[in-house]
């Protein structure tokens, strides 16, 4: 095992040498990449002995030979099929981790900066912002996977909402994997900075052109300044054969509002780490999600909501539906730090097991170091309720359709809060397709 991990690091190291030559950047970022690579060499892929990885074994990922994608890896892509109608004028496309200006549509993005992250760090207008926030919230010093992503930072997307800019059009970012070789890795990177009193809606969409194996290791960092508002949807619809490891790290300014919903559908093995730091008074967040896990899939969500300052509110609802021999993990930590008085934190995780072979490990955790707070959390794991099923049957609905209807209803609590119609409709379809049911 040790030798395998060492070998793995050498393979990535070889690719890393190529990146340094082919994709030079500003000196400070060179330093960051070098130090990230060093950290990855030391940390490697986290083993199951680590508490945070107890239920998610990355050995199959660590064992395989993945080669980082280059800008040349992608072929012609029909990107239209991944576009939501609402985002027709604001669709940013990142292929195998590389921002594609050619495939992106930005006509609806006045007053917004949406450019290649590597260009942003070299641009006098944005380099200060980029330098302040890149690799700040998604730290790589104690996280081997974030370190690996940071070492291979050659492109990605920089999205900047200047002060007071209110963007009405939802902005879609499609991270598409388009590779032929099933041993290809890509490292998408996203930095969103929303300046004071700006507001926007962003849809982060992970998809693939082929139903095959590959490895996605993505990092998204989000910074909301005072009074900024961000509605954030994260749709993970990777190939069912793929490995998807991702990290979302947000920091919230004074009186800012961050409303995020993560929908996890794809991946053979997926892991999403989401961390929200409320380090200014009056910030509020909604950190919701739905994982729909089918046979032979493993989906893991680790969430950290960190109340560092008083008068902040957080709301969390994560729901999971597991079928066949599906495995899921939900680990949700809420910290209320010393002095974070008047915190209001609510966390719920509910799981529906459709099969006796499905298994979920859920662990909601509250750590409170302040005395004037309102906190509640809970987790539930259950099956279809027999009284509910009988009620539907008593109205002429056959048991199979009844079960599907109840499952759909279970998912709906998360889906119905999505404000973009086409996403909601698509998700309804996905849930129902998974259940082989039609409601229309």
């Amino acid at each position: 095992m040790v030798t395998e991990l060492a070998k793995r690091e050498n393979t990535y190291q070889a690719a890393f040498r190529v990146v340094r030559e082919s994709s030079p950047t500003v000196p400070w970022l060179e330093l960051v990449r070098n130090s990230a690579m060093e950290r990855f060499e030391q940390l490697g892929f986290p083993p199951v002995q680590q508490e945070e990885w107890k239920y998610t074994n990355l050995a199959p990922l660590a064992k395989q030979e993945f080669a980082p994608a280059t800008r040349a890896t992608a072929a012609a892509i029909d990107i239209e099929r991944f576009a939501f109608p609402e985002t027709a004028t604001a669709h940013l496309v990142v292929v195998n981790g590389f921002f594609s200006e050619e495939l992106s549509v930005t006509t609806g993005l006045e007053n917004v900066v949406a450019i290649d992250l590597l260009s942003a760090v070299a641009d006098a207008r944005y380099n200060k912002v980029a330098r302040s926030y890149l690799a700040r919230n998604a730290g790589y010093h104690d996280n081997g996977l974030a370190a690996l992503n940071t070492a291979f930072l050659q492109s990605g997307l920089f999205l900047w909402f200047p002060k007071n800019v209110k963007v009405e059009t939802p902005i879609q970012i499609t991270f598409v994997t388009d590779v032929e070789d099933p041993t290809t890795a890509s490292f998408p990177r996203l930095l969103i900075v929303a300046e004071e009193n700006s507001s926007a809606t962003v849809i982060e969409n992970y998809v693939s052109t082929r139903e095959q194996a590959y490895f996605t290791n993505s990092v998204a960092e989000i910074v909301l300044k005072e009074g900024a508002r961000l509605e954030h949807y994260r749709m993970q619809r990777e190939s069912g054969e793929s490995f998807h490891i991702s990290n979302t790290s947000a920091e919230l300014g004074r009186n800012s509002s961050y409303d995020t919903t993560s929908i996890n559908l794809g991946g053979r093995l997926s892991r999403h780490d989401i961390s929200v730091v409320l380090d200014h008074e009056g910030a509020e967040c909604w950190v919701d999600g739905l994982y729909l896990v089918g046979p032979d899939q493993h989906a893991d969500t680790h969430s950290v909501i960190d109340h560092q300052q008083p008068h902040c509110n957080s709301h969390q609802l994560y729901k999971g539906i597991l079928d066949g021999n599906a495995r899921a993990v939900f680990n949700g930590k809420i910290f209320v730090r010393e002095g974070a008085q008047k915190t209001d934190a609510m966390q719920t995780n509910k799981n529906l097991l459709l099969s006796p072979n499905a298994r979920v490990d859920t662990k909601p955790q509250l750590e409170i170091y302040a005395d004037d707070v309102k906190c509640a959390h809970g987790a539930a794991v259950g099956q279809i309720d027999q009284e509910e099923l009988f009620y539907l049957q008593a109205r002429g609905i056959n048991p199979e359709l009844g079960r599907n209807l109840l499952t759909y209803g279970f998912a709906e609590e998360v889906i119905e809060k999505i404000k973009i119609d086409s996403i909601r409709t698509q998700l309804d379809e996905v849930v129902l397709r998974q259940l082989n049911t039609q409601l229309e």
């Binding site: 009284e387 509910e388 009988f390 009620y391 049957q393 008593a394 109205r395 002429g396 056959n398 209803g409």
Partner: protein, 259 residues
């Protein structure tokens, strides 16, 4: 339409129904009354096919078929409807979605064309008048956050949409204030035709002022202890159940009265 012969049923090994015989013909309203624990709700649930109840003896013939051979959803599609005493909440599924699904399942079963959402909306609007239900209830999740009275009205709305041949109303009056009771009863009366039948299960005579039964059957200890016309309900209202459930005491009371 319905013939119940010597029906015995148990839950968790405890026999609750101990030989029920009942015949219901088209166009009739039957009231099943009785004190708590007499088996009236069990009878309703057995007719609907609740999986927790086990039929240990007897048979139920409905429209020439052996009802007990049919799964609950088959019974419903064949026209048997039970209004629940405690209607279940179905979060995330809108009332309109649910009703259309149920309606179309029945249409499919009868070999009729299914209705699309628009066509169904018109039908639903029409039927909702029966129980004076506001359109806003249609987009809300089934029974979720409904008051007790709203849930009962929703049951009758479902009945109005599904147009059952045989409706069993299980304590539909419980938890209703007098205004809601009137609305629900008026709804049920509108739905009665010469071709269908209604069984009203109730503890109190109150509902029967509004839904007037042709026959009243009084259950005690899992058997029908007394049968009569609508005047039997009034008698129960004034005398209580004791004289039926406890015939010796009742006999002496009558004797005293005669003296």
């Amino acid at each position: 339409m319905l013939e119940i012969r010597n029906l015995h049923a148990a839950i968790d090994g405890n026999e609750i129904l101990k030989g029920i015989n009942l015949t219901v013909r088209k166009g009739e309203i039957h009231a099943i009354m009785g004190p708590n624990g007499s088996g009236k709700s069990t009878l309703a649930k057995v007719l609907a096919g609740h999986p927790q109840y086990e039929v240990t003896a007897g048979e139920v013939i409905y429209e020439g078929k052996n009802l007990l051979d049919l799964a609950p959803d088959e019974r419903a599609r064949e026209g048997v409807f039970m209004a629940f005493q405690y209607p279940i909440e179905v979060p995330g599924v809108s009332n309109a979605q649910f009703l259309r699904l149920a309606y179309n399942e029945k249409r499919k079963h009868l070999g009729e064309e299914e209705l699309d959402p628009l066509e169904f909306k018109d039908l639903l609007k029409e039927r909702a008048k029966v129980v004076e239900m506001d359109a806003s209830f249609m987009t809300r999740s089934v029974n979720e956050g409904f008051s007790g009275g709203e849930k009962k009205r929703n049951e009758i709305l479902q009945m109005a949409v599904l147009e059952p041949k045989l409706a069993v109303l299980d304590e539909t009056d419980s938890g209703l204030d007098i205004d809601a009771l009137r609305v629900v009863a008026a709804g049920v009366n509108q739905l009665l035709t010469p071709d269908n039948a209604i069984i009203v299960v109730t503890h109190y005579q109150r509902l029967l002022n509004y839904i007037v039964p042709d026959y009243v059957h009084v259950l005690a200890g899992g058997r029908i202890a007394r049968e009569g016309g609508k005047e039997l309900a009034l008698e129960l209202e004034s005398k209580g159940y004791d004289w039926i459930t406890n015939p010796n005491a009742a006999g002496s009371a009558n004797l005293n009265a005669a003296n």
